[in-house]
Structure formats: C-alpha cells, structure tokens
Amino acid sequence: MPETFVFYAFSAMAIIASTLVIGQRNPMYSVLLLIASFGALSALYIQLDAPFVAVAQIIIYAGAIMVLFLFVVMLLNAPREDAAEWDRSHPLQHPNIGRFGALLAALLVVQLAWALAKVSELETPVGARADGASVGSVLEMGRILFTRHTFAFEATSVLILVAMVGAVVLARREGSNQ
C-alpha cells in the first residue's frame, strides 16, 4: 500500500520536525523546522482528500506567517541560546511551571485519546461522502462557513482586527506625532 507508506513517512517527518523545533538552540533552525513540519501536515491533508485545506496550510502558515517569523528573527538577529547562559532565576525555571506543563501535556494526551476513540466510531472516512463532495471542497466549505458558523467566522475577523489595531497602537512610539 503506497498510501500507507506515504502516510507514515509524512507523519514521522511531522513528528520529528516538531520535536526538533523545540530542541534547537538556533532560532533560525527552529523556524525552518516548523515550516518542514507544516509541509508534512499539508501532505497528510492531501491524503485525507482535502486539497484546499492542504494548500491553505501552505499559503497561510508556511508562505505568510513563517516569512514574518523569519523576518523578525533576522531583524533582531536573535542569538543562539546556550545552556550555560540560561538564567536560573528565569520565571520559566520555577518547578511549579514544570508541573503545570506536565499537567497540560497529560491533558493533551487524554484529549487526543478521546478524539481518536470518537473517530473510529464514525462510519465513513473523513474524505468520502455519500454525495461525492469531499469535505475539502471549497464550495462546501464556504457554504458551511457562512451558514452554520457565521458567528464564529465574523467574531474571529473582529478579533483579528482588534489584534491588528492593538499591534499598531503598541508599535507607535510615545510622543511622536507622525
């Protein structure tokens, strides 16, 4: 089964790349590995017969957001993080933070297990539908977005607008009238 092989290959790539993202000392490499992980995820979407989601993943995350990440890393010329220089008094070094993180991780595992149990109960695979229209069809997606999820959609756009205005206000220097 070539499909199964492709699935495992890209899954492994996504997991390894994501793990390496947090293991890197050089922020530049972290950004690039994150892009690789997004690419692998997008391949998995294609396998689920959702090409639109796959392409949107590449355009939005890999093509736009990560370019900005890269821009910021380059602009600030962020240095390598060395273990020796890591400040012991940093708030993230507090033991309670570690415990909180472990709790969150355990919660995530439980959530994943629950979701996977749910998926196996579904009768048809995600991509295949009786009417032949795949879940990833742009038409279908647009219809659902503007009917059933109108409120969530509009609320998200307002949220993004607020964030944007906030960023502009914060970025403006105090006292400059320009």
Binding site: L32, V55, I58, V67, V138
Partner: protein
Amino acid sequence: MEIYLRPAVIGVMIFVVFNALIIASAILVLAERKIMGFMQQRYGPYLVGPHGVLQPIADILKLLFKEELRPKGADKWLFTLAPILSIVTAFVAFAAVPFGAETTLFGLLDEPIKLGVADVNVAVLVVFAVTSMGVYGIVLAGWASNSKYSLFGGLRASAQMISYELAYATSLAAVIMLAGTLSLREVVDSQAGTWFGFIPRWYLFLQPIGFIIYVIAGVAETNRAPFDFPEAEQELVAGYNTEYSSVRFALFPQAEYINMVTMSAVATDLYLGGWHGPFLPAAYGWIWFLLKVGFILFVYIWMRWTVPRYRYDQLMQFGWKWLFPASVLNLIVTAALVLYLNA
C-alpha cells in the same frame, strides 16, 4: 485520485516540462541581453555562434568551471540549501500550470491526454502556495551568507514578498469569482469563444485593472526591475547572492527566469484565454499559449530596461497604499457585479 493513474504519461510530461523550463531560461538570458542591446543601440552578445545565439551555453560552461566559494562565517547547511530551495520551488510551481487542451497528439495515443503535469482542482492556489515558498531560498541565502549586504537583501525580499503577495492574491480572487472555479484548466476553458463574433472572451477585458495589478505584483514577486530590491546592485553589491559563486550562484538567476515563465503562464491562463485563439485548430492551441507567454515575457524584459528602480519607501508605500487598496476595490466591485448579474 487521478494523480496515481497513468504514471508513464506523467513521467513523460515531467521530462518535457522540466527541459522546456531549462531551455526557456537559457533563451530568456539571451533575449534579455539582446533586447537590452537593441534598446541601448548596440548589438549585445555577438561572438559565440551566429549573432551570439550560443552565448547562454558559454555562460553556463563558464559558471560550471568556476571555483565554488563559501565564506568562513557562513552557515554550512543553509548556505547550501538556499539555492536548492529556490530552484526546486521554481520548477514545482509549474507542475500545476496547464498549457494546452486535451489532445491525442495527432492520433498517436489511444485516449486524449491533458497538456500539463498535474491537473489539480485547486491549481490556482497550488501555484500561489509554491511560489510563495520561493522566498525562503532568497531569505535563507541572505541570512546564511553572514554578510551585511546579503542580510539586507534577504530582509528586503521577505518584506517585499509579504507586501505584494496580498495584492497578487486579491487580483487572483477576482478572476476566480468570475470563473467560479479554482482549476486553471476550467478557468481557461471558460474563456473559449468570442463576444459579438470578434472580441475574444478573455478575462483581460472584464478585469483590466485586475490584470494590471497582477502583472505589477508579479514583477515584484519575481524580484525583477523596477522591484529588484533584494539585489539592487548599486546599493547592496549583489544583494542576497553576493557571497555565491559558480553553480550555486547560477541557480538563483535561473530560478528567477523560471519564476518569470510561470508567472507569465499563469497570467496567460487567467487573463489571456490560455490556448484559445483564432485561426489555429484546437490541436495547435499550445502555439497560441507559447506566443502569449512569450509576449508577456517580452514586456517583462522591456519593463526592466525602461523603468528605473523605485526607492525602498516608495516600494512599500506603493504596495500598501495604492496597489493593495486598488485590488481590494476591484475585488469588491467584481463580487457585487457577479452577484447582481447572476441574481
């Protein structure tokens, strides 16, 4: 999916397109220098072969035999990866571009094949996604070289790409609305026929502003003059590729030329009716396609040697304050008209 079917046809198609793109970039190198020479009232390359037509081959051979240098402070891995990334995304982007109608190659094949590597139903977005990944090659080249000029080139490239991608995508969206499909092949086929018997049904006539925005943003996306800020030789030596030499260097301009071809091919498919045209029978539609792509490429070169480079702040102002609002306005008007006329 259809992608898994008929691997032999796909294989031949990949071979043909791959080599066609390489040859096209060689022809463009020559055309650029010849047209530049003509515009500046001189001959251009004239010594290698008749009228200098073998000049690109001489150029490539020269670059192949040059010593490959890498600055001491450069990042070993990313310095090597950057040109590869550039050229790979340039080639891959063309995979989703159709360039001819269904054909049996004059009865050679039992069943018709579609001219194009992969017939994807979201082709417009695939091309856009892959070309938007091309910026990483330039940005990484700039960062990995560990040189101030390269770094500035890379920074400029990322800012410029992000800014002009918006206008580019918005002008695409207007055409998609008119055609009602994301498949490039269906967009082309919806432009078949004529209005009143003599005006071809090209989206160019429905979207004149969209076409102009697309071409301008396309020039900026491929980093061509007057938007060649990542290179800007008068300010940045050679910009992002300052530290590159030999084959690694050659890959950057080649990627740029291939991106130009892709950009022109997509413009032809979206606005100029692709392979549809008068006089020629449908089986020869690819000749129309080549002619239209060739014309847009000529305009590209023409523009480069006519218009001087902008200033960097002008680039940003133009992109954000003029081009992007214009494309959004174009999109809204198109959407309103499509709704009104379909109701």
